[in-house]
């Protein structure tokens, strides 16, 4: 029986963590993910989980302790945001390189400087090549669901998984949500039985060796192959979750895209604003649709371009700037996937919402107008645009 609740994103994720009941959680407070270790410490203090919680002295140590705990043979989780994820950078690569399953919650937040506590995707985009599977969530429900699925995906793929959702917008907003029963979650994630782990009394092992020219590449290729293959694991686990809950999760979500002439791609909560705007525009006869990637790592590089091939114009929205003299990360990866699939659509890039700058329905309408122009003329005047309110400009 599903349970109807009203929870904030962080509460929903903490609830998922309670139901998962991992062996070890190590975390350090950072806005806007702080509530997770707070809620979770309460669960520990009241005996509603069996987990050991390690209140570490930094995010670097949070990830190091999580790695140690996973290597020891535990089911492990952590949570962070922004500078915390940046401080973990070194250890994220080690977690995946050592092929340790774990779930890391990332309540997305901007990176300094200037310091800013609000949402954009600079943090998780900055670590996009660290070997973590990355799942992006539009709503509290998706954050809750993906957290539960992440545990199973990680353990099957032998890869760490990062669950990303928008700081404050999702983490602190209260929404209606459907929760699973504790037993349903327990059965879904099952028991964790690692193959090789430090505390196995039957054999002593050595983890994290030096591997030089002759071996390093081979070990890294195995990691790369695991990421490639994880796409099927994500599909399997999502199917299983659908059977349990009736909530369907694909690698990406399409909204009125199939007959669309112009399209938008965006991650996380902005998708909600876009869907709303699409409904309005469709009433006025504008054939517009949305593609919202759920899974950015691995990138569904064969499937996504196929969905876009009939568009006349496309805008890819990045809530992170690569500061590379070109464009944002989502734009560069998806257009390159289109190129390699021999699919050409006139595509522009919008950098938007940095540091929590508001993105309104009128902004999406502006993008739609631009796309209609491009669709009509077949010409692009400028590839990269900043969706910034002129009045707020310095």
């Amino acid at each position: 029986m599903a349970i109807r609740e009203r929870l904030s994103g962080n509460e929903a994720v903490a609830t998922a963590m309670k139901q998962i009941n991992p062996d070890t959680v190590a975390a350090y407070p950072i806005t806007p993910s702080t509530e997770i270790p707070q809620y979770f410490s309460n669960f520990v203090a009241n005996g509603s989980v069996d987990t050991e919680f390690i209140p570490v002295e930094s995010e670097h140590s949070a990830m190091s302790a999580t790695i140690g705990a996973a290597a020891a043979g535990g089911r492990v989780m952590s949570a962070t945001s922004s500078q915390g994820l940046a401080l973990m950078f070194e250890m994220l690569y080690i977690a995946s390189g050592m092929r340790l399953p774990m779930t890391l919650i990332c309540a997305n937040r901007a990176l300094s400087a200037p310091i800013n506590i609000h949402n954009d995707h600079s943090d998780s985009m900055g670590v996009r090549d660290c070997g973590f599977i990355q799942l992006y969530c539009e709503s509290n429900q998706e954050a809750y669901d993906n957290t539960i699925m992440a545990v199973k995906i990680a353990e099957k793929a032998k890869l760490p998984v990062m669950v990303c959702y928008d700081g404050f917008i999702t983490s602190h907003s209260i929404e209606n949500i459907m929760l699973l029963e504790n037993d349903e979650v327990k059965n879904f994630v099952g028991k964790y039985e690692p193959e090789n782990y430090l505390l196995d009394s039957k054999k002593n092992i050595s983890m994290g060796p030096l591997a030089l020219q002759k071996y390093y590449f081979g070990i890294r290729k195995e990691l790369s192959d695991a990421m490639d293959n994880s796409i099927n694991i994500i599909k399997e686990v999502s199917d299983e979750f659908y059977k349990l809950t009736g909530r369907k999760y694909d690698l990406y979500e399409k909204y009125k895209l199939d007959d669309a002439e112009i399209g938008i791609i965006a991650l996380n909560s902005t998708a909600g604003t876009i869907k709303d705007t699409i409904d309005k525009l469709r009433e006025n006869g504008v054939k517009i649709g949305l593609l919202k990637p759920r899974c950015f790592r691995p990138l569904p590089y064969l499937d996504i371009p196929k969905e876009l091939k009939n568009l006349k114009a496309l805008a890819i929205m990045d809530k992170a700037d690569s500061i590379n003299g070109y464009c944002g990360p989502l734009f560069s990866e998806i257009t390159s996937a289109m190129f390699s699939s021999n699919i050409h659509v006139n595509t522009i890039n919008y950098i938007y919402g940095l540091g929590g700058a508001d993105t309104k329905s009128s902004d999406i309408e502006k993008i739609a107008n631009k796309l209609q122009d491009i669709a009509k003329t077949g010409k692009i005047d400028n590839i990269k645009h900043f969706l910034i309110n002129e009045k707020e400009e310095i």
Binding site: T24, I54, A69, M91, L199, S206, Y215
Partner: protein, 317 residues
Amino acid sequence: MYNLKEVVNKPNRLTSGHRMCAGCGAPVTINGVLRALKEEDNAVISVATGCLEVSTCTFPYTSWKNCSFIHTAFECASATLSGVETTYNKLKKDGKISDDKVTKFIGFGGDGGTLDIGLQSLSGAMERGHDITYICYDNGAYMNTGTQRSSSTPHFADTTTTPSGKVSNGKAQQRKDLTEIMVKHNLPYVAQSALIGNLKDLYEKSEKAIYTKGPTYMSVLSPCPRGWGYPSEDLQTISKLAVDTCFWPLYEVCDGKYKITYRPAKKLPVEEFLKLQKRFKHMFKAGNEWMIEEIQKEVDKKWEYLQMMEKITNEEN
């Protein structure tokens, strides 16, 4: 009672085939520490990046035997170990690990991985009170990358980033005293040891460190023939001179009570320790006598401090 002939019968936990330099003090320290483990007990060893790690676990080989080993990165051997230890407690609680099997958790790092880049991680793990033992094999510089100065490098030492030259006297600062910093973490056991005699001092302190419940710390002077510039066969000689000059005093602090564990019959002048090593060669040039005098003052001050602490902390109230 310590009996060398008996303890050498214990199986080594760091075995042959590693790639540390000839005459390196570190493997002697490591086996000296791990020999204090009860034969029936297992251990998980967490090692910071450095000579020890890259030379003892070079894929597809490992020299770690009768124990499990983990390396993650340079600055986080302690945090990593704290994750392992915590999970051990959890799995034990769950009955996934049988009660009659004891596993101990031991971290090793060089002075760079301990006093410098690893200090925060070490301090955090010690403050949280994990049941772990951390051992710094201190050779006074970043030897793995070619003898760059660390905060443990002795005053005036010539290193590749503090070379002595026309206007430089080698390292301008004194050593950071991490052993004292660890004492201030209110740990149940903190000690300093060296590779002297028949390694009784190291064995006994390691036994206390490993089998005292809670976080314990030990610093062991582990000479590096290459970085220090002395003949590789002189491992024991140079260690003995370090303690006989009180450059490296041997002491322990149990629950805040100091105990000097070795008092040289005759405290030798510090130059007896310095003169064997190339890194201090410039101190013996005419006109540089003041350097030796200064380092002697520093050594004397620390020795007096330890004697005072021993007296104060053992006084009956």
